[in-house]
């Protein structure tokens, strides 16, 4: 599996931080499409959409191929997988920390009841 560097991962997340770009990716998750189709729901000019696509392309999230007279865009899953790993890592991380907090609070309560926690 490709190991993404910190800089690449940060770039992926920066690309994902914009709601329009996330909208574009959601659309592409349903299948590849043309730039003009992508521009449709955003009431944006083609150059504005192209600008967002360029960010996504630089982050390795989207590829653009010329087919005939139109550009076709396709979602690339690699960096997204890394972003999902980030989410999965922290979900597990926070649940484990809270488990341990609960254990601590329970044992601390025990100590308080025993009078050991006084002072």
């Amino acid at each position: 599996m490709v190991k993404y560097t910190e800089a690449e991962l940060s770039r992926t997340f920066s690309a994902l931080s914009d709601p329009t770009r996330r909208g574009i990716l959601r659309r592409l998750a349903d299948g590849s499409t043309t730039v003009s189709e992508l521009a449709g729901p955003y009431s944006m000019s083609l150059p504005a959409v192209s600008k967002h696509l360029k960010v996504l392309e630089e982050a390795g999230l989207v590829s653009r191929d010329k087919q005939g007279r139109e550009y076709h865009c396709r979602l690339l899953a690699g960096p997204l997988r890394e972003a999902m790993e980030w989410i999965a890592f922290y979900r597990g991380f926070w649940h484990a920390r809270i488990d341990s907090l609960e254990d601590f609070l329970a044992s601390d309560e025990q100590n308080d009841n025993d009078g050991g926690g006084a002072g």
Partner: protein
């Protein structure tokens, strides 16, 4: 897979909400009282590799964990950005996973709410995009740092902000090297002595110690020593710093240590273009008779030494 894509694309953030069967005050204290926090953060499966928490707005934290069976390590570090008593606190959150930075520039908000049967704990861990990250850092910089008494940079700008209970020396320098190449300059005796004291010992582990000895031209010497509190090669190094010497006639050694203790934080962050920012933050200086002189002396001393670090690490002449 499709479901995870939807999560990522909805917002690059994780929210964990749990209800704990304990009163809010106890849950709050477990997070905010460092003596309680160290007792649970690692939990039974992990071990702590050093936990520091300066619990005040602008204060830094560093929480290190390690999994003993395979050696995996994870350290979170950042600042307390906001603290609303019994309601929430917000952390800027950078992390190091197995020795490498792991998605810098997140924010973690931890909120507390009394509910029937206990306390609802809500943890929102969000990645901040580039624009927001810049704003966030500049705000953090403005709120936490600009309040501090003196802000120096290597262009020689000095700003004074008086009236705060603590003040710090802040210096930042960019070196044309990787963090891994700079790290030995901060931690290896043979390198340290090329830009800083004439003699050095340093054990770059949390709980390790260092001792530096300067020889003045007149033949006299002075020594600085203390503990290493955080060491995460090649990105973080925190050390105690006692700017004065213990005088037995002024009281016990322990009283002197408590009053005199300051902290030196080194932070290395790579720019992605082959260079690395080295930040020094020396904080904990009080106000009072004699302390202004100590503070100013350290400010000009660090400026000289950090300049020298840049010169020597870049292969130029020692300017000491």
């Amino acid at each position: 897979m499709r479901k995870d894509i939807d999560v990522v694309l909805a917002r690059p953030a994780i929210e964990v909400v749990r209800t704990l069967r304990f009163p809010l005050e106890r849950v709050w204290q477990a997070w905010i009282d460092p003596q309680k926090f160290v007792q649970w953060w690692a939990g039974p499966e992990l071990e702590s590799t050093g936990i520091t928490a300066d619990v005040r707005v602008g204060g830094e934290f560093s929480w290190g964990l390690r999994r003993p069976e395979n050696g995996d390590s994870y350290t979170a570090h950042g600042r307390y950005e906001e603290i609303v008593e019994h309601e929430r606190f917000v952390l800027s959150w950078d992390s190091i996973r197995n020795g490498e930075a792991y998605v810098s520039g997140a924010r973690v908000s931890i909120s507390f709410r009394s509910v029937s049967g206990g306390t609802e704990l809500r943890i929102l861990h969000e990645f901040l995009g580039e624009a927001e990250m810049c704003r966030h850092y500049s705000e953090g910089w403005a709120s936490a740092v600009e309040k501090l008494a003196v802000h120096l940079d290597l262009d020689g700008n000095v700003q004074e902000h008086l009236g705060e209970p603590h003040r710090a020396i802040l210096l930042r320098v960019e070196l044309p090297l990787s963090a891994a190449a700079i790290w030995p300059w901060l931690t290896e005796a043979g390198r340290i002595t090329q830009w800083f004291p004439q003699e050095a010992e340093l054990d770059a582990r949390p709980g390790g110690s260092y001792s530096f000895l300067w020889r003045r031209p007149d033949g006299s010497t002075h020594r600085r020593s203390g503990a290493i509190t955080v060491a995460e090669a090649p990105l973080l190094l925190d050390m105690e710093w006692y700017p004065t010497d213990w005088d037995p006639q002024q009281g016990s050694e322990q009283d002197w240590r408590e009053a005199a203790r300051t902290l030196v934080h080194w932070r290395l962050s790579e720019t992605g273009q082959g260079s690395c920012l080295v930040s020094l933050r020396h904080e904990g200086f009080g106000y009072g008779e004699g302390l202004d002189m100590i503070f100013r002396g350290h400010a000009s001393g660090w400026q000289e030494y950090v300049t020298n670090l840049r010169e020597v690490a870049s292969g130029r002449a020692d300017i000491r």
